[in-house]
């Protein structure tokens, strides 16, 4: 006992001395707003998981780079991977090595940060099945990796979770978590909680049944699975489960909220981010659109699509669920990040979950209970007038819901959402959430003849276009306490489709789809520095301390993804309705950037 205590003291002392001026304790950031408490240790040097921290604040306590010197940023390292597809997610830095996961064919590349120019240490090639490229709906992306127990753990498009020795670049284990033959793919970044690797899935467009898979960190063995449709036993809903709202309570809602047997192809995939609260020992994540997308064919609430879950990471047992939008009609996948922070809320400290939604609403939930404390729109919204906090239900405008006989027009946001999967960042120093937002609306119109697997069928045409004000994207600083926008930086022609990083240096980093990498003042939004890179940015910035003790910032470039795929040569901009309708909103991108993936590292 005494030995352990001494060892903890020693470790704490060592950390404080190593990090010198950047010596914030793990969860206490100097200069934080009164009453704000962060529940997960922040990344003080390395960056070992997709968001940097379990709470998904994407906040760095580092402040060597700050509002005063950020203008000196310059490229210190760069590595292209030659893959002309969307580069989502961001690198990890562990033990003087930078790890990059590429889009299909999902290389894992290790760069040596101790040497000038960051030479490549090794490249691991998992050789995923090429058929998965034809199955994935929206470019062949990958959203990143996690480090734990000497292993880099990530997913390949063909439904495998793999663990690679972080030193040697050799395979430790590989586990198949989905069935490619049924249309499943995996694009999300896993997280590791204790000894459990948590993996979601993709393929909601093909009628797969969404699920979270937990694997053993040591062996890769599957520990448990929680499905997003079907009976309670499949959803791991048991005695511990207590949903806040009556609409989410009752037995086997994953069956009864569907027409008979339709839950088998219920969609509700998990292709975004997973958060973890070490104090409550709960994981949080959201689910995607229900299958099939034609909502006339699936009357009912379609649980548990478009739902936020709270679960125990070791057993998978559900604690609560809140379905954001019953019976989705617009493809508003709510797989967005859930940012966990304790802060004062109407006079007392609450354990909050912040969820800037695809629906265009900024949800503030009590993460102990699943109660919605606030849901204000952060972009122009027409599909609903707001949320009834008593019932947890949206106040829908029925005219904006498309049906086979009703072509809804002026639906805002479009299916790409008020924001996409790209994650926001929260600064405890400002109390603001920095949201990469879209401003697009859509019209459904007359049905076109389509053809698939030898069968003609009809599909409503969807066209997306810039929303009110005529701009397409905006980086929004959102005051959480007062539920209002403080400042925004608008993009005329393109949505903001990159992740965001806020730091204790009072700088916010993000990128644009035409390739500007930008640092802005976290309080005012004034642009302090920017540099145009070789391709559009849809990745997430991160920061780390290099072997020389200095702070660096890294970002992927590489246009692609659902919206960015319009920049790829294989997609024509002649047809507004192509690429599931996004071409209408993305006309200019081919003139503004070119494909080509790389990681850039900046020093000051």
């Amino acid at each position: 006992m005494m030995r352990i205590f001494q060892s903890i003291l020693f470790t704490t002392f060592m950390m404080a001395s190593v990090w010198g001026q950047n010596a914030p304790s793990a969860t206490d950031v100097p200069g934080s707003q009164a009453g704000i408490h962060l529940v997960s240790p922040l990344p003080t040097g390395d960056w070992t998981m997709p968001a940097g921290d379990y709470a998904n604040t994407r906040f760095s306590p580092l402040s060597q780079i700050n509002t005063g010197n950020v203008k000196n940023l310059h490229i210190v390292g760069m590595m292209a991977d030659g893959i002309p597809h969307g580069h989502e997610g961001g690198p990890l830095v562990v033990n003087k090595t930078l790890y990059m996961v590429t889009p299909f064919p999902n290389y894992l590349i290790a760069l040596d940060l101790t040497k000038p120019g960051y030479p490549m240490k090794w490249r691991f090639e998992p050789n995923p099945d090429g058929r998965s490229q034809g199955i994935a709906c929206c470019d062949v992306v990958n959203r990143g990796a996690s480090y734990a127990d000497g292993k880099i753990i990530y997913n390949t498009l063909d439904d495998n979770t793999i663990a690679v020795d972080a030193d040697k670049g050799t395979l430790v284990w590989k586990t198949t978590v989905g069935d490619e033959d049924l249309g499943e793919t995996v694009t999300m970044a896993p997280i590791v909680v204790k000894n459990v690797v948590l993996v979601g899935d993709s393929g909601g467009e093909l009628g797969v049944r969404g699920k979270l898979t937990a694997l053993d960190l040591k062996s890769g063995k599957i520990l448990w699975r929680a499905y997003n449709s079907g009976p309670d036993k499949d959803a791991l809903i048991g005695a511990d489960f207590k949903a806040f709202y009556p609409k989410d309570q009752g037995k086997d809602l994953g069956v009864s909220s569907w027409t008979p047997d339709q839950w088998h192809m219920g969609g509700g995939t998990i292709w975004g981010w997973i958060s973890y609260d070490p104090e409550l020992n709960l994981i949080y994540y959201g689910t995607g659109n229900p299958g099939v997308w034609n909502d006339d064919m699936r009357p009912g609430d379609n649980k548990w699509s478009i739902t936020i879950w709270a679960r125990n990471p070791e057993t998978g047992a559900a604690k609560w669920a809140y379905q954001i939008e019953p019976h989705d009609g617009w493809d508003y996948d709510e797989i967005m990040e859930n940012v966990l922070v304790d802060m004062p809320w109407h006079g007392r400290t609450r354990k909050l979950l912040l969820h800037p939604g695809r629906t265009g609403f900024m949800f503030v939930l009590d993460r102990e209970t699943g109660e919605v404390l606030s849901a204000e729109n952060f972009v122009p919204v027409t599909w609903a007038k707001g949320y009834d906090l008593k019932t947890g239900l949206p106040m829908e405008d029925p005219d904006k819901r498309p049906h086979t006989n009703h072509y809804a027009r002026g639906v805002c946001p479009s299916s790409t959402g008020g924001k996409e999967f790209v994650p926001s960042s929260f600064s405890p120093k400002t109390g603001y959430l920095y949201i990469p937002a879209h401003n697009t609306c859509m019209d459904y119109s007359g049905e076109d003849v389509n053809y698939i697997a030898g069968t003609p069928y009809l599909g409503a045409s969807v066209r997306m276009y810039p929303g009110p004000g005529g701009y397409q994207g905006e980086l929004i600083a959102w005051d959480v306490t007062n539920a209002k926008k403080v400042w925004g930086i608008k993009e005329t022609d393109l949505p903001v489709y990159s992740g965001v990083l806020a730091t204790a240096g009072d700088v916010v980093f993000y990128g644009t789809m035409d390739g500007w990498f930008r640092a802005v003042d976290s309080r005012t939004g004034s642009v302090l520095w920017q540099e145009k890179l070789t391709s559009g940015i849809i990745g997430n910035p991160m920061t780390f301390i290099g072997p020389d003790g200095k702070q660096y910032v890294a970002i992927y470039v590489g246009i692609g993804g659902w919206m960015g795929a319009v920049a790829l040569p294989s997609v024509s901009t002649d047809d507004d309705y192509a690429a599931l309708g996004v071409v209408g909103a993305m006309k200019k991108i081919k003139q503004m950037t070119n494909p080509g993936g790389a990681v850039y590292v900046f020093g000051y």
Partner: protein, 272 residues
Amino acid sequence: MSSAIRKMAAFVFCCALPVLAATPELRVCADPNNLPYSNQQQQGFENALAKLAASDLGMNVSYFWFPQRHKFFRNTLQAGVCDVVMEVPSGIDIASTTVPYFRSTYVFVSRRDRNLRIASFDDPRLKNLRIGVHVTGENDEAMPSTTALLHRGLVRNLEGYSIFGKLSEQNPGADIVRAVADQDIDVAVVWGPLGGYFAEHSSEPLEATPVCAAPADRQLPLSFEISMGVRPGNEALRDKLNEFILRHRSEIRQLLDSYAVPLVSAPEVTCP
């Protein structure tokens, strides 16, 4: 060997190969595993039709195989790896289409021993039956036949089957017909060529009955003309294929009959 013959042989040797190589190719994109349309063993009617067209035009057939899923056209015709897709709905945006060479419709497929012979979406027996339909997944999509069923308030009777089925199975699109044979569902409503062919090849006797249109279905196209599709801009090939179709109407008809493809002539078959 006389020197004349040697010269002849040398001539044949030197020139036969280039002549052979100059035989133009009809480069076809097709699904490797989707009867009755096509498969890699070339047992589908698209395969037979391609052979017929190629021989008529003095060409050799070559294939690029790709499952007919989303992104099929982007990865095939648009990518330039082939010049023709043997079946597309006439006038579809994505291709330049030939004159139609057949028109088909959706069919009700049921076990013969059930004696259902349902043809109308208004048949009152449907209210008590499990009805299988194909679902495609993306966007606000449906077969018009499914929309007709939805309009009758039959949504709770519908059982969805992915049109892609499971890739590792043979002819995955036929899952739904197998489900009728196995009595998992009472009736399936599917596109005619698929229903007709698998009804005929089922181990359990099945029957395929073309759907009829009621006045309420006026807005719904329940039958479609089918053409061959080439890359827009390649109208020279389209015109050759047009001539082939016009010259061989009766053989094409025979071919389709041999695959039990239900053919309709009027735009819509109205219910009696």
